[in-house]
Symmetry: C2
Subunit: 589 residues, 2 copies
């Protein structure tokens, strides 16, 4: 589907051929993919996060070695019935497991680390390099998943890690979690610069703007290919500084007469720091509610990312001992997640904290697309309890963690890559980002809008897409990983739309006559008080149908089943205009 646009961006017509077309295509079990060349090469394979928001993962492969950057998860959309989470297809890595040297993690958000427990289960020996808070967040996940020892390498911004022929340098950038890094990956063919998630915050809370000097120096050395965060590529201008949230908080804290509740992502350490700083300034105590929030506060404080004065923090059990105007509570639930602290408060289902009129609730986040309704529901419920609710969509009490167009342009101008791959975004964002790259001087033919599973290959001679591998969704449902597919989801969708009716008939297998039933059982089709009557009618109709079947016809069980199915489906549709799943069971006794 994207070929014409690739061609448009590449500036060549449909008739022309790129270098890829000259390579021999082989059909392996990783779909159509050319054999790698014998000369030095590097392949870049995005397995997730391209054409979607979530499950970011990129493979970097040289002649002898393979490293992975990030391994995230994605939350299921409405059509993925019953799916818990979505992870990546590891086939490409699995088929090259002998070359796998390490996993590099840019930062500790779910869409970058959430797939790691599944990855480690398959590749238990893999070394993982990341900064301290990122490691702490991965460890928390691994503990939940009961994994054994994981081989972590602790890095700091500026650290370099070598995995075979690939050397990775971690470079400090700003983001809505502490310890976020970009990666400069030096390979035999050239340097690949992966921004991770980033923004350029000139006045960050921790006083550390992104390391412009290192990024510029890496750009000066020459960068073969850059992969860059496209989340906000459609937004003009500059993402506001985290400090802007501080201004909103100052105004909120000045005016609030009762308790203040701040909801944010647990991993948003800068936001936690701002809340703590305001608590200190306005002489309030802070309590952290919920396990994940308390975990992060614990790790982040221990690792020096967060400073909470000892006399400011109180336990949630002790809140009621303080007057309302002396209390701040931090909790999760900024996305309206049903089991989160805030959602439970909003329906008075939280033991340690009951919302009362006069409380001010600050939802310090914007809804991720798809979560709007649950966030609005939480806001409505909190309002009904009498809380004053200030939500991130007011544009003041939240700022994005991702670079807008001016920052993306600055990154492009600092790094000046020869090739460019926009990542982390839906198609429209990737397309907008590619246009920005072209504006800064990247050759139109060198900006690739990729889909998950596209294999890009670079040598000293060329760089282009050379084939595809598996880039699809792997659904995790319960303990099953990848064991449900589209067919199961289609079934669940059909069941959810109109329910199911089962018909059970027992026939004597020798005489081929009905000796039991038809019995009808329905679920999700009829209103209960009326279901009995309707089912009785339908049973009577089916009985007549069955009596009309000859003894010979009755011997063909498959045909009898189909006959029952179509008769019953028709009868239900005529009555209700509904199309439940109809399952006929003919039991031969």
């Amino acid at each position: 589907m994207i070929d014409h646009l690739r061609d448009a961006i590449h500036g060549r017509g449909a008739g022309e051929q790129g270098p890829a077309a000259k390579l021999p295509l082989v059909t392996s079990n990783t779909l159509a993919l050319a054999e790698p060349p014998s000369e030095p090469y590097v392949r870049i394979v995005p397995l997730g996060g391209c054409g979607e928001i979530g499950r970011n993962m990129t493979v970097i492969e040289t002649n002898d070695d393979l490293v992975v950057v990030d391994c995230g998860l994605m939350f299921p959309d409405d059509e993925m019935y019953g799916v818990d989470i979505v992870i990546n297809d590891f086939t490409y890595v699995r088929e090259r497991a002998h070359k796998l040297r390490g996993l590099l993690v840019t930062h500790g958000h779910e869409d970058h680390i959430g797939g790691i427990p599944y990855f480690v289960r398959e590749f238990p020996q893999i070394p993982i390099a990341a900064t301290a808070l990122t490691i702490a967040l991965i460890k928390a996940k691994s503990r939940e998943q009961k994994l054994g020892e994981v081989d972590f390498t602790l890095v700091k911004p500026g650290s370099r890690v070598r995995y075979g022929s690939v050397e990775a340098e971690f470079v400090h950038v700003n983001h809505s979690v502490a310890g976020a890094c970009a990666l400069a990956l030096r390979t035999p063919v050239g340097t690949i610069f992966h921004t991770g998630d980033f923004k350029f915050d000139q006045t960050p809370i921790d006083g550390k703007p992104a390391d412009f000097s290192r990024i510029a120096a890496i750009g000066d050395e020459g960068v073969l290919c850059m992969l860059s965060d496209s989340t906000n590529a459609e937004r003009p201008g500059h993402t506001r500084s985290e400090r802007a949230v501080g201004e909103a908080f100052t105004s909120i804290f000045s005016h609030a007469k009762g308790r203040i509740v701040v909801a944010s992502f647990a991993s948003n350490v800068p936001r936690i720091q701002q809340t703590v700083d305001h608590a200190v300034r306005f002489n309030r105590k802070v309590a952290f509610l919920g396990r994940s929030m308390r975990n992060v506060v614990h790790f982040a404080s221990e690792l020096g990312y967060l400073r909470v004065p000892a006399d400011t923090m109180v336990r949630s059990e002790d809140i009621d001992g303080y007057p309302p105007e002396r209390v701040v509570v931090m909790t999760t639930g900024s996305q309206g997640e049903p089991m989160s602290g805030l959602a439970r408060m909003s329906v008075r289902d939280y033991k340690h904290f009951k919302i009362v009129p006069g409380d001010t609730v600050v939802i310090s986040a914007t809804p991720i697309p798809g979560n709007e309704k649950s966030v609005h529901k939480t806001i409505n419920n909190l309002s009904k309890l009498g809380a004053i609710v200030i939500h991130g969509t007011d544009g003041r009490s939240h700022v994005s963690g991702h670079a807008s167009q001016e920052e993306l342009l600055l990154m492009l101008n600092l790094v000046r890559p020869e090739f460019f791959i926009p990542v982390h975004g839906e198609y429209r964002m990737l397309a907008a980002h590619a246009q920005l790259a072209i504006q800064t001087g990247v050759e139109p033919g060198n900006a690739f809008i990729v889909e998950n599973g596209d294999v890009l290959e670079f040598t000293h001679e060329y760089g282009d897409k050379v084939g595809r591998t598996y880039g699809g969704n792997v659904f995790v449902d319960g303990s099953g990983i990848g064991d449900i597919g589209e067919a199961v989801l289609r079934d669940r969708k059909a069941l959810s739309n109109d329910g199911i009716i089962m018909v059970v008939v027992a026939i004597d297998s020798e005489e081929a006559r009905v000796i039991g039933g038809p019995d009808l059982i329905s679920k999700g089709v009829f209103y209960l008080p009326e279901a009995g009557g309707v089912l009785d009618e339908l049973r009577a109709e089916l009985k007549t149908v069955l009596e009309g079947i000859s003894v010979d016809a009755m011997r063909d069980v498959t045909a009898v089943k189909e006959h029952i199915r179509s008769e019953l489906a028709g009868a239900v549709y005529n009555r209700t205009k509904r199309r439940p799943v109809v399952i006929p069971v003919v039991m031969e006794v």
Copy 2:
């Protein structure tokens, strides 16, 4: 839940009692509701649209007469599995059908007219008063639903209609559909002013700002109670004029080199007019795609709401005869609705129009909460086809049809009602609107935040909430109206999460021994290639369980069923951590 807030707004403590508490409460089949007084009264009963966006409907009832304002529908949310639409509970009207005199309709949007076919089916003689375009839109719906003759009364802004003791005056206001009116309802107790959906557009496309003079004059006469549109009550400032969209269109039309596609709601006549005007100005032809869009263009032109020069309009079949830079296409699908023109174009499923690179698509609307993902999907698909997509969220190519805070304040200051009921909005919007009313001088005790089904009563002496009637959702699924309830939806949800497994066993009813089965059938639980093996294992386990049941125990079919259910549920959970619905069927032969 809202009582404390009502009290807070009413400015009285929990111990005090309003006038309502002095009235005798009777428990009728319309829940707890006081008998009406013998003195002249008017009751206002919102049946939908309060605490939600959609299915707006208000009952106005005097001693002898009852009129209804609007009768809308709501689209189901994600939790309403398989529900087609949601309408209102007509019980309150049904129980007072002898007093029902007429239905007044403010404008022709689905959330104000969508329930009318269901209402007319129950009350076929009811006269319906509305402006010409509104009637045309209701007729279109009625035809779809195959209703017979409907008794319409055509009104114009300024018209008055008398239904018994209630006289309604239609007052012109601006909105995103032509023919929108507010209503001044004169009753024996005083005037009720219902704004309908409105904005104050000082520079509307049709040159007719809202009738400030009549609204002010009605205010001067004295208004007992105002009901007002709360959709944008949280938005500061003023909603931009429809003309602002014209400026964005001028820029888009100046730059577009290929064809232009504009997607909007079919009923947005002002938007259609702007598109046509720009087509004329930039020397392009316009084609209207889709039945609903063509219908509206037809009605609106015939009724004088829309002016399309004859030589500007072309048929969709003829588009290809014109060069791309001479073509504009208008279509529906601004919400990403799967069967709409735009969504079908985005997946190349539209016979008469294929998107090609160079086309510019303008989505001239913002997503209704809950539709974000489908709109984004449409945008991504259109981008992949090479279209330049400009979407309403850019804040330029769309303006809201609803008044923001400054306009709501102006309306309050023009009408100066004694009592105030914010309507059309979620709780947080109603609460914000009540605050605005109090700021303009409405007594805090006279601003009511209501829920659907609340009954408010006004006499010359008092005004307050006196009880509740049925205000719940009525689900329409297929041809069934109100015949599925929460239990059915819960079943469908369970089915959609983890699927269903049925176990069928035939037992000899005399000897109480298993003579057939157990047979297992699953749907939506297991990945198909593996399902066979798992089901075989589960069947073997169940067989062992059944063999362990004594002959005596086997005679208790209910206990056997429960035994099978729990064994199988346990076995499935241990294997997969999933909890499908398990249905045991024991057939006695």
